[in-house]
Amino acid sequence: MSETTAPDSIGSTLGAPNTARASRKRDRTRWYFIGPAIIWILLFTLFPLLYAIRTSFYAFRSGKMLRWVGFDNYRNLWEDEALRSDLQRTIVYVTVVVVVEMVLGFLLALLFNRQMRGVSSLRTIMVLPLFASPIALGYLGKTIFYEIDGPVNRAIEALGGNGIPWLSDPTWAFVAIMIVDIWQWTPFVFLVSLAGLQALPQDITEAAEVDGASALQRLFSITLPLMAPILWLILLLRTIDAFKVVDIVISMTLGGPGRATELYGFYVFRTARRFFNYGSAAAQGYLLLVIVMILVSLLWGRIRNLYEHDVEAR
C-alpha cells in the first residue's frame, strides 16, 4: 500500500504549510475543482427531490396536476392495504436475500482465501454477475425457470423429482426472484470479503495458530472482529440495494402471480408509470427514502465507530 494522506493533513497550498492560512482565503482554486460536481448534484439531485416534495402535496388525475391536497397523499400511505402488504413482502425479501448472500458470500471467501491456482480466475468470473443487466436477467430467468421443459425443471425431473411450478405458484415465484438476486449479488459479498480477508495482517492469525487456537476460535475471535467494519458496510449496501429492486420484478414476473412478487419499488414505479398518479408516487417514494435513510443512519454509525476503534487499536 502506498502512502495515503489523511485529508486533514493536507494544507491548501502544497509546498508552504506556514502560509497556508494566509493563502487559503485567496485560494479559490479548490472550488474550481469541486464546484462543478457540487452544482451538478444541487441541480440534478437536490432540486428534483425538492420538486418531488411539492408534487407529493398535489392530486393528479391521468398525469394532470389537479389541486393542492396537503398531506392527503401521505395519509393514504397509512390506509393503503396493498402498500402495507407489499412493504411487508419487501422486508421478507430483503431479509432473506441479504442473509443468504452474506452467509454464502463470506463462507466462500473464507474457503477461497488461499494461494491456489484457479482462485484468480474465479475472482474474474465472479465480477460478471455484478454487471449483468437486471432486466436481461429477469427475462432470462423466465426461460430458465420455465415450467415445461425449462432447464431447472428438467434437471429436477432427471433427478427423479417433480417439476416445480416456478412462475405460476405464488411462493415459488417469490423464491425464483430471490434466486436471481442471490445469483447476482452473492459474488459482491464474496469479492469484497475476499479482498478484505487478504488485506488482514497475517501475523496475528499465524501467532494465534502457533498458540494453539483452533480454526473456529481464530474465526470468531480474530477474523470476524477485524472484518466487522467491512461486513457492516457490505450489509448496508446490500440492504439498501435490495430495498430498491424493481427491474427483476418487471421483466420476470410483473409482480405476479397475483401480487406474490410485488415488491415496494415496483409498487411505486407502477403508481407513477401505470396509473400516472404522480402525487402518490412521490409520497410513496419518500417513504422508501425514509426507510433507506433510517438504515443508513443506523448502520453508518456502526461502520464509523468500528473504523475509529480500528484506528485507535493500532
Binding site: T4, L14, F44, L237, K244, A272
Partner: protein, 295 residues
C-alpha cells in the same frame, strides 16, 4: 509438486480439504456461468435443438447465426444499440469529467465548511438514493422542458438520459479517484510547484496521467451501469430514445417462450458490460465497495 505430495503424506486429511475446495471451485464457477452460457447457446440454436441436453456447439448441435442476423436486422434494435452507446459513453465521459475534478479537489485541498469528510459523504449519498424516487420529478421536469421547447433535452431524448445516468453514477469516479490521487506522493507535485507549474498544469500534466488506470476503471464502471439502467430510461424514452433494456423489457411473447429471441436479446444486453467487467476487474471491487477494500 513434490513438496505438496510430501505435505499430503504427512497430513492425509489435508487432501480431503483440498479436494473439497476444488469441488467447490467447480460448483461455483458452473453456477455463475450457467445462466450466461444458457442464454448464449440458445441464441445460436435452431428451435429443434433447444429441447434435449445439447451443450456443445458443432459437436452436439449445428450452430446458426440466423437469429443474430435477424435481431441485428431489426431497425428498432439497431436504434436501441445506438441509443445505449450514446447514453453509456456520454454518461461515462460526463461523470468522469465532473468526478475527476471533484476527486482531485477532495484529495489535495482542505475544505472547512463543509469539511472534506462531509463533502465525500455528500457525494456518496448519491449512491444510496433509490432511483424510483426520481421517476416522478424527472418525468414532470422533462415534460416541462418539452413545453418550453428546450432543444436536445426533455422527454424522449438520449441527452436527458446521458445527464441522468452521469448524475447517478458520479460517486464511482469520485471515490475511486480520490483514493488514487491521495496515493500519489505529494513530493512529485511539490517539485513541479517549485518549478513554477500552475495548479491546473500540475493536475493535467502530472496527477492525471498517474491515475490513468483509475480513469479507465471509473469510465467503464459508469458505462456498464448506464448501459444496464432501466427505470429512468423507460420514464424518459418514448420512441426515439429507447435503449436496449427498455426494448428487452417490452419484448413479451404471448405464446410460450421464444428461446432464440430471449437468447439473442439477453446476450446483447449482457455482453458489453461483461466485456467491460473483465477489462476492469482489478479496481472494480474497490469502486463498488466505496473504497472500503483495496481489492
Amino acid at each position: 509438486m513434490d513438496a505438496y505430495l510430501e505435505r499430503i503424506r504427512r497430513h492425509p486429511t489435508r487432501l480431503l480439504g483440498d479436494l473439497f475446495v476444488i469441488f467447490m471451485l467447480i460448483v461455483v464457477i458452473a453456477w455463475t456461468l450457467f445462466p450466461l452460457y444458457w442464454a448464449f447457446i440458445n441464441s445460436i440454436k435452431f428451435p429443434y435443438d433447444v429441447y434435449g441436453t445439447k451443450w456443445i456447439p458443432w459437436l452436439q448441435f449445428e450452430p446458426t447465426a440466423k437469429y443474430w442476423r435477424q435481431l441485428l436486422g431489426e431497425r428498432e434494435i439497431r436504434s436501441a444499440i445506438k441509443n445505449s452507446l450514446i447514453i453509456s459513453i456520454g454518461a461515462a465521459t460526463l461523470a468522469i469529467a465532473l468526478g475527476t475534478l471533484a476527486a482531485y479537489g477532495l484529495a489535495r485541498f482542505r475544505f472547512d465548511r463543509p469539511s472534506n469528510g462531509e463533502l465525500t459523504t455528500w457525494f456518496l449519498s448519491q449512491r444510496v438514493l433509490p432511483p424510483v424516487i426520481f421517476v416522478t420529478p424527472f418525468y414532470l421536469l422533462a415534460r416541462q422542458l418539452d413545453t418550453w421547447n428546450v432543444p436536445y433535452l426533455g422527454l424522449d431524448s438520449v441527452w436527458t438520459l446521458v445527464l441522468l445516468n452521469a448524475t447517478f453514477n458520479l460517486p464511482f469516479p469520485v471515490i475511486i479517484l480520490t483514493q488514487m490521487f491521495r496515493e500519489i506522493p505529494r513530493e512529485i507535485e511539490e517539485a513541479a510547484q517549485v518549478d513554477g507549474a500552475s495548479r491546473l498544469q500540475i493536475f493535467l500534466r502530472i496527477a492525471l496521467p498517474l491515475v490513468a488506470p483509475g480513469l479507465v476503471v471509473s469510465f467503464v464502471i459508469v458505462m456498464a451501469f448506464s448501459w444496464n439502467e432501466y427505470i429512468l430510461a423507460v420514464t424518459i424514452a418514448v420512441k426515439n430514445a429507447i435503449p436496449v433494456p427498455v426494448i428487452i423489457a417490452g419484448a413479451e411473447s404471448t405464446r410460450g417462450i421464444d428461446y432464440q429471441a430471449v437468447g439473442t436479446r439477453t446476450v446483447l444486453a449482457l455482453l458489453p458490460p461483461a466485456i467491460i467487467a473483465l477489462i476492469a476487474s482489478r479496481y472494480i471491487i474497490r469502486g463498488l465497495s466505496l473504497g472500503a477494500v483495496k481489492g
